[in-house]
């Protein structure tokens, strides 16, 4: 083994996204071994179909919620209310559309979206005020809306599931554009907008500064509370877009179940993507990867016919594995092992993980 090869390996493993990428690849490989047709994509009626496309489409709402969550977590906060905001947004939009004489009217749908989006901004501002102005700890402040918001969503739907029949609205969740699911375009657009807003301006650095050291940031003249307020509004805005997708996909709004527990998956996606819960440096690409990993996992659970009773356990084991290989302390031990065994091909050592993960599956 040449030293440059080793050097390159060291550089690659030091990259924060290295282990998430490996985890995703490992999962795709495991799926392909189980079912060789997993990777195939075919054209039917002008649309592309395949497991990979499904994974990306189904991960879109989670990805959008997680992107907003990334900014909140980067400031050292957390937003538990995103699931409730999904439900409220979806419910408002569906309720408005269901009252329209012509549910297929584009103007009607756009009005519904605007209404729901506006309400989500208000909800985000509520969180922002509680955290940034009043100074309540984020986990408590957003817990309020997480609990109350579910109730609000059920009030809006009057405890029923609102079913609509609106093809423009359905487009958001289940439509197709240029052979691909429309939801993918929305997710990509949200990712690009957030990336541009944080990395093309100084917002990203300022968020990282506030999350890294709030007092030092304040003494540098950063209006920390404005930034913190802003990220909760952005998070709610992302959540409502995801809520549109979820409800549009099934053409109905269920105040009780829409977006249920999505906050937990979103937090997980952010953490898998390498953003620290303590705040500071954040990675949007990491979050996108994290969301893909979680959805791949869910899809695998179905594809491999794992019984529902064991699927949560299976998920938990994989998540633990992904988090462990990212932990510096664990990697240090892992690295020692590798050094002692001398230059065994490192990817083999990594591939050992998915094999371990399969144990509870069998």
């Amino acid at each position: 083994m040449s030293t440059t090869w080793r050097g390159r390996w060291a550089v690659a493993t030091a990259h924060p996204l290295f282990w998430p990428v490996i985890a995703l690849i490992a999962m795709l490989v495991a799926n392909t071994i189980y079912r060789p047709s997993f990777l195939s994509i075919e054209m039917r009626n002008g649309h592309l179909y395949g497991s990979l496309i499904d994974i990306v489409r189904l991960s879109a709402p989670l990805m959008i919620v997680a992107l907003g969550m990334t900014l909140v977590i980067a400031t050292g906060g957390i937003d538990l209310s995103v699931g409730s905001v999904c439900a409220i947004g979806g419910a408002i939009a569906c309720l408005y559309i269901s009252k329209q004489p012509d549910q297929n009217s584009v103007v009607g749908v756009l009005t519904a979206l605007t209404l729901a989006f506006g309400l989500a901004l208000v909800l985000g501002a509520w969180n922002g005020v509680l955290v940034a102005v009043i100074g309540i700890q984020p986990i408590i402040a957003t817990l309020i809306l997480m609990v109350a918001g579910r109730g609000l969503a059920q009030l809006i739907t009057e405890g029923q599931i609102i079913t609509i029949n609106s093809s423009p609205y359905r487009m958001i969740g289940a439509g197709q554009l240029l052979t691909l699911p429309f939801a993918i375009f929305i997710a990509v657009a949200v990712a690009l907008v957030i990336a541009a807003a944080t990395r093309r301006t100084a917002l990203g650095m300022i968020i990282e500064s506030v999350g890294g050291n709030a007092e030092a940031s304040r003494l540098s003249g950063i209006r920390s509370s404005r930034i913190i307020f802003l990220v909760y509004v952005v998070s709610a805005a992302c959540a409502v877009v995801a809520g549109f997708m979820m409800t549009a996909n099934v053409s109905s709004a269920d105040g009780n179940n829409a977006g249920l527990w999505v906050e937990l998956d979103a937090i997980l996606a952010v953490v898998i993507g390498g953003t620290s819960l303590a705040g500071g440096r954040f990675s949007l690409a990491g979050t996108v990867l994290g969301a893909l990993i979680i959805q791949t996992l869910t899809t695998s659970v179905y594809a491999m016919n794992i019984t529902p009773q064991t699927s949560l356990l299976f998920k938990a084991v994989v998540v633990i594995a992904v988090c462990l290989i990212q932990a510096p302390a664990f990697r240090a031990k892992f690295g020692l092992l590798r050094r002692r065994r001398r230059p065994g091909p490192p990817p083999a050592a990594v591939a050992a993980d998915p094999r371990k993960e399969e144990v509870p599956a069998t």
Binding site: R200, T201, A202, L203, M205, I206, E208, S209, G212, N213, E215, A216, S217, R218, L219, S220, G221, I222, R223, I227, G280, R281
Partner: protein, 508 residues
């Protein structure tokens, strides 16, 4: 000669972009006070952290009591008898004093902490240091100096064979230093090996038996204190002819008072309850006002009020003769006021951001996030100040927490200098940094004020205040007691007198 209790052989340690230690040898004998000397970034802190297992080493051998050791962390090192008190106090402000002393090794019975016993032992231990305080009160209620003593108490309580004191005196006043030295001598006589790091040369000559000098991560040599005159020591530390020292001497010892014209900033009866009594202070363009006083006399509080870091509840401020509301740092920055805090780690730098990002932070904050500073302009500005202030290492893309204390201070200065303030408030800008960097910062202050910038210079070192200031404001017990013109007659003794007596009459 007794066998060394600690030997370190050919130690090397690198960080991304920094070669912190390069083949350094070091030994520590029982019953001695051994001073580890060197400029900022010479590798002193790294050597200590290697010894206590905070960092692993890339190469080399560490032995303790003749056996090779590789501690995995300070707890393990402490259990083996190597205790450390770090430069930045590593205590937990929201826990009680007793909890801080015994954290991790609380007296227990059946797994439950014996709180009464813990408090009793803590009181006994602090009594050894002549410190009689309420051990049940939260640590944050005590001053930095007292916190430092508590950190030392914690370190000596474990059955220590080796006690490492990293800059223990930088936040202590003269009496407290004497107190500390008494304890150090006592511990030395008990056979404990003490490793002492400081930037105060006179303290080295007061207490140390031997001296090891590092420079740029390499060993320069080990000497008996009696064999190494002070000038020779400085030469070995900075590794060049004494031009740095000469530069300090060159600086005119007295600066002609500069008054008249509209004051840049005028504070009238400005105050804040439980922080500082109402005071009045005037600062003109191009004037350096020194703020002298003992630790805890309210120096920092005055600085924070003028910057809006704390909100005043009394009095007014005018800037350029017009009333100004300095309610937040952002507002003060809007009036071209800058503030470099004494706590650079907690109130100054954002550790995980890079040197570049830290330097542009204030300027970017003033512009607002919608108007990012173009990257090329950032690189230009950063390169200019990295060069002008001699920030090492020169790579602006490494996290600022990887820099040594003095270089971090320079990064903080650079952050404010690029905003081109008209009033620069410096709170202990030379605390805990080496003589070369100190001289550079003092020189910089003179240059800036000659260029028309107003400077409020807060320092515990009277010589420094006197060397730089046109006027010296004296603080005592959270009151501004008097303001002295730094003319031919003013010397450290007179300022000291003003601090001690605290009345206007004596100095008048």
């Amino acid at each position: 000669m007794t066998d060394p209790v600690v030997t370190m052989t050919a130690i090397s340690k690198s960080f991304p972009g920094v070669r912190a230690l390069d083949g350094v040898d070091f030994r520590l004998l029982p019953g001695e006070v051994h001073a580890l000397m060197g400029e900022n970034g010479a590798g002193k802190s790294t050597l200590i952290k290697v010894l206590t297992g905070v960092y692993g080493i890339d190469a080399g051998i560490v032995t303790l009591g003749g056996e090779q050791v590789a501690f995995t962390g300070p707890m393990q090192a402490a259990a083996a008898g190597v205790s450390t008190v770090y430069q930045e106090i590593n205590l937990l402000p929201n826990l009680s004093v007793a909890e801080n002393v015994f954290i991790g090794r609380e007296p227990r019975r059946f797994g439950a902490v014996r709180w009464g016993e813990m408090r009793r032992q803590a009181r006994a231990l602090l009594a050894r240091l002549d410190l009689s305080i309420d051990v049940a009160a939260p640590l944050s209620t005590y001053s930095l100096a007292v916190q430092q003593m508590i950190a030392i108490a914690r370190a000596i309580d474990v059955q220590a064979r080796v006690l490492i004191l990293d800059e223990p005196t930088s936040s202590l006043d003269a009496t407290e230093v004497t107190q500390l030295f008494k304890i150090m001598s006592q511990l030395r006589d008990d056979g404990i090996a003490i490793l002492f790091v400081t930037h105060f040369l006179d303290q080295v000559y007061r207490i140390a038996d031997r001296i090891t000098v590092l420079r740029n991560g390499r060993l320069v040599g080990e000497y008996l204190t009696t064999d190494l005159p002070q000038l020779a020591l400085i030469e070995k530390m900075i590794g060049k002819e004494l031009d740095v020292l000469e530069r300090i001497e060159e600086q005119q010892p007295k600066r002609t008072a500069r008054q008249g014209g509209t004051p840049f900033l005028q504070a009238t009866e400005l105050g804040r309850k439980r922080s500082v009594e109402p005071f009045s202070l005037t600062i003109h363009q191009g004037e350096v006002v020194g703020l002298a006083g003992l630790l805890g006399s309210g120096r920092t509080e005055v600085a924070r009020l003028l910057f809006g870091a704390d909100r005043a509840d009394h009095g007014q401020v005018t800037v350029d003769g017009k009333p100004a509301a300095l309610r937040t740092p952002a507002a003060a920055i809007g009036h071209d006021i800058a503030f470099s805090s004494e706590n650079r780690r907690t109130e100054g730098l954002v550790g995980e951001l890079t040197v570049r990002e830290n330097i542009i932070l204030a300027m970017q904050a003033a512009r607002g996030w919608l108007r990012p500073i173009p990257r090329r302009r950032q690189d230009e500005l950063v390169a200019r100040y990295v060069q002008a202030l001699g920030i090492r290492p020169t790579d602006p893309e490494i996290p600022v927490r990887n820099l040594s204390g003095g270089n971090q201070q320079k990064v903080l200065l650079a952050r404010w200098l690029i905003t081109e303030p008209r009033l620069l408030i410096l709170d202990e800008p030379t605390r805990g940094i080496d003589i070369g960097a100190k001289a550079e910062i003092q020189k910089l202050v003179v240059q800036l004020s000659d260029g028309g910038m107003a400077v409020l210079f807060v320092s515990a070192e009277l010589e420094e205040v006197l060397r730089l200031s046109h006027n010296v404001a004296v603080m005592r017990d959270r009151q501004l007691v008097t303001e002295l013109v730094n003319d031919q007659d003013l010397d450290a003794d007179k300022v000291m007198q003003a601090i001690a007596s605290g009345s206007r009459e004596v100095t008048a």
